[in-house]
Assembly symmetry: C2
Homo-oligomer: 262 residues x 2
Amino acid sequence: MAGGSRESGRTVTSRVLAILEAFEQSRTALSLTQISEGSGLPLSTTHRLVAELTDWGFLSRGANGRYQLGIRLWELAQNAGRQLREAARPFVQDLFSLTGETSQLAVREGHEVLYIERIYGTKRVPRASRVGGRLPMHATAVGKVILAYEEEWVRTAYLNRQLERPTAHTHIVPGRLAEELDQIREQGYATTLEEVRLGSCSIAVPVFHTGRIGAGLGLVLLTSQAATMTRHLPVLRGVSAHIERATAHIPLESLLGSHALR
Amino acid sequence: MAGGSRESGRTVTSRVLAILEAFEQSRTALSLTQISEGSGLPLSTTHRLVAELTDWGFLSRGANGRYQLGIRLWELAQNAGRQLREAARPFVQDLFSLTGETSQLAVREGHEVLYIERIYGTKRVPRASRVGGRLPMHATAVGKVILAYEEEWVRTAYLNRQLERPTAHTHIVPGRLAEELDQIREQGYATTLEEVRLGSCSIAVPVFHTGRIGAGLGLVLLTSQAATMTRHLPVLRGVSAHIERATAHIPLESLLGSHALR
DNA sequence: CTATTCATTTCCACTCAGTGGAAGCCGAGA
DNA sequence: TCTCGGCTTCCACTGAGTGGAAATGAATAG
């Protein structure tokens, strides 16, 4: 396993995966040439591999000749972390039903939070996150609450970097952030106010798993609701406790902390 | 492209994909040996490829040494059909909020319905389908409604096979099914009564896209509700119309009908 | 503590699948 | 008709991939 392999050149496997990952950057369908450029592979090689991936349904080709990730890939990937998501989902749904606010569940992946569940209606949607999407930890409530309860070395490593600043309200001074995390751990919840996107604020509580922090459960609200956000705390805590119970028996080592801190 | 390639042996790509697909059969984590058997590859080959997939996060290894599909794969695959799912999701959420019943959206994939959205709370859950899961079309309301509006040759091809029978209530006589499909097209909705699983019934309406049938939108209820199911029709139709409007601009060729009828 | 068994990991000489430059093709526009 | 850009096909070369076999490790019994 040794060091990084990502040099995107040696093995066939790496070429195949590089092709798939090329689709993460752009949200539109890609032409063969674009895939070739995005993956750094010669055109003819790309052509051959793409054709085979398409055969298997891992890529699909639209009417315009462009390619997209295929439904087979999606279908297959639904099995990843399925136990966890299926166990947690109805509770997140309950959280939404009880609050009427955008509800989300996220875990840490490296230096970011990865949203694994997100429920919202057609009404208010100040969306920044999405299921399967990532955001920096220090800009989100779920991220901060996870970071706050993480082991010390994770916190330290995290703060010891250049921190992104999505909006002018994002806290990026390491010292003050460290204090904020301490306070979060004391009070048992985290909040943000327009730190990832203007117009929205958020609040989140921790979800524990086998004694360690496992995930963050939170709500996103319009900034106008910021003052009264904390009224949702009882519900958040109740739902969190339910999720903890429902997922206690599920082995997560494979999901969490696997990618340490890249 | 020519004929089928699935012979699971020739190319490296096929070996890699065979390994990934090995995880679809079993819901538990797999040992190396199991993956080797499941994919039909020699152990040492499996070992090498699995190691590389793990490096990339497409597989992950639990504490017990067993492998599972990795979160990276899931994350990547969230981009497949994302436009469609993100557009439709809040409306399915609304359907759930308005009815309080398990709400689902499904498309046709070959001879089966593939559930792409499913929303339910912690209460009643007579679950048979799941997001990313498949069921035979003739046993489900969403499936029947899709089949009913499909082009003639699709219907014919479908009925011209041995039809599975999950429960004793499943309709599997081709002639009678054809009649039922005609009736569904006339009345504009389909129902089932314990046809996929005892204890539950369902009702579904069509969702059109560029003039053709695109998906099925439905509810699953307890059998005790069967008699009054149709009271949800107005809501179902309203939500369906909203989904049609919201997805009209999204190109779907790449999703639907791609895998004709395997 | 040793023997046995079964799963995983490592090794390495052989060879065929994969490669990619180049040429051919095709459709759109001038 | 000619041109251009992107896609597809071809094919001789070669090193990435292969897989049998042996080493290692973990688990259990004797």
